[in-house]
């Protein structure tokens, strides 16, 4: 479709020239809220990295945007993947989101600082902006990384396992936040998760893609997250 923000055409994705997934066809449209689910190691994060341009396709093509204007991505990695020898503060981490819009060598302006403060405020982390990022809890880290992604002024937010490694209450806070951002900012969302219960409880998640044995099964969340479907997938995984 012409208005797709991201289009996969017969895409093969993998590492070191070895494909993990092949023959992928997938469209993400403006306003979608798509959840990628599936067993561990099935390639959910690989698809997300393909969308963000972090992984280039081994075969096929990935089209990002339909017109002249490039699509802006707000990429939210898993919190524990960011390791720092010299810890940055919460504000410094969020500020990195503005670097994509500022040309090489140009300084960060006061307006950028103000925008980052607003993003931190939006995710409820403004009070902790001077804290070292590594000292935060898993849930707080995720909120900061979402603020950083918002600071890119994205068309689409790509979230890689935002609920992993955090307790149930923190997961609820993160899901509520993601849902609110989708509703208020009309942000397109693609989210990788294996927390099916959390996805089921949030109406904003309209479509679900099961990634299983290199195939993509897409459908409405109500169908794809139904107990029957989940049992089918899990049964298949167990054997």
């Amino acid at each position: 479709m012409a208005d797709a923000l991201i289009s996969f055409h017969d895409v093969a994705l993998g590492y070191d020239g070895v494909p993990v997934l092949e023959g992928l066809a997938l469209d993400v449209h403006r306003g979608d809220f798509l959840a990628l689910v599936g067993p561990n190691g099935c390639g959910k994060s690989t698809i997300l990295k393909g969308m963000a341009g972090i992984l280039e396709p081994l075969r096929g093509s990935i089209r990002r945007g339909s017109g002249e204007k490039p699509v802006r991505f707000g990429y939210v990695p898993q919190g524990e993947t960011i390791e720092m020898v010299f810890p940055l503060t919460v504000f410094q981490v969020a500020l990195m989101g503005t670097y994509g819009r500022i040309g090489p060598g140009w300084p960060v302006t006061h307006a950028d600082h103000a925008r980052v403060r607003a993003c931190l405020d939006d995710v409820g982390m403004a009070d902790l902006q001077r804290k070292p990022f590594p000292s935060l809890s898993g849930g707080q880290r995720q909120r900061v990384l979402i603020a950083r992604a918002l600071a890119t002024e994205p068309d689409i937010l790509l979230l890689d396992e935002p609920l992993s490694g955090i307790d149930v209450q923190a997961a609820q806070v993160i899901m509520d936040l993601i849902e609110r951002l989708h509703r208020e900012r009309r942000l397109t969302m693609v989210m990788v998760s294996h927390h099916l219960k959390a996805l089921r409880e949030h109406e904003a998640v309209r479509e679900v893609v099961w990634v299983y044995e290199g195939k993509l099964l897409r459908g409405p969340a109500t169908t794809m997250l139904s107990p029957e479907m989940v049992y089918r997938m899990m049964d298949a995984e167990i054997g």
């Binding site: 341009g53 990695p77 720092m84 020898v85 010299f86 940055l88 503060t89 990195m96 090489p104 790509l158």
Partner: protein
Amino acid sequence: MDTLLEILNLHFLLRNALYGGLVIGAVAPLVGVYLLARRMVFIGIALPQVSTAGVAGAFVWHTFFHGHPSRDVNDFVIALVGSSVLTFAVILVLALLERRRRGLLEGRIAMLYAVAGAATILLLASDRVTEIGILSLLKGEIIAIPDIELVILLLGYGAIMALLTIFHKELVLVTVDREMAVSLGKHVLVWDLLLFAVIGVTISLGVLVVGPLVMFGFLIVPPMIAGRLVMGMRTVSIVAALVGAGIALIGFAAAYRLDWPTGPTDVALAGVVLAVVTAGQALRTFSLRSA
């Protein structure tokens, strides 16, 4: 205090050695911050060794084909060419191998360190005159730096400081979160190459003035001290530069007063400062837990 006033006098005989040490003490830690942040510390020890092998190779090559170089500007130029060519060639090969993710990086660097050290010794064994010059380099005896060498050092390190300041945010982004950098459309390879070029110039120029031991010391120890005192890449960089310059100044004064070789005095002093800061930090943590 008298010693400090004496060495800071504009007419002090060894002033160029002091200025050279101060410049390296201030700028090398700025590069070292990235070596530590990228967990590439071993490159910081291997490359100065490679650079020294390049210097030895260039002198031996020159002696073999043209006789011994005169002890003037030619001397420095030959050393600079040898140091730069070998350092940049090794950086390029390491970067290519790293990009292709072939083999174990630490193993390659360790092998490089051992081979470069052995090559330096073997090259020196074949040429007595070169051996004397290189041995003082290895010992880190920073005594006499001609004006022209100081000017080249100032220009080179000035350029490095300017590049690190201007492109700070890009270099921090590709260092802290490469995936984020790619998703923002940054050309990670270009920034990597810029950083490697900066590392290459810093080491190949610095080794000629202070030798491999001191170079490694200034690259790594001041950022480690700064990392224990402050937070954030920019703040750590500024504090590391100040600590490095301070160590260079006090180390030079101590070496001058005690008639010790300057380089090892600087490194030993840096080690003492690091130990004191670490102990202070441990004491503070202990008292906070007890309270």
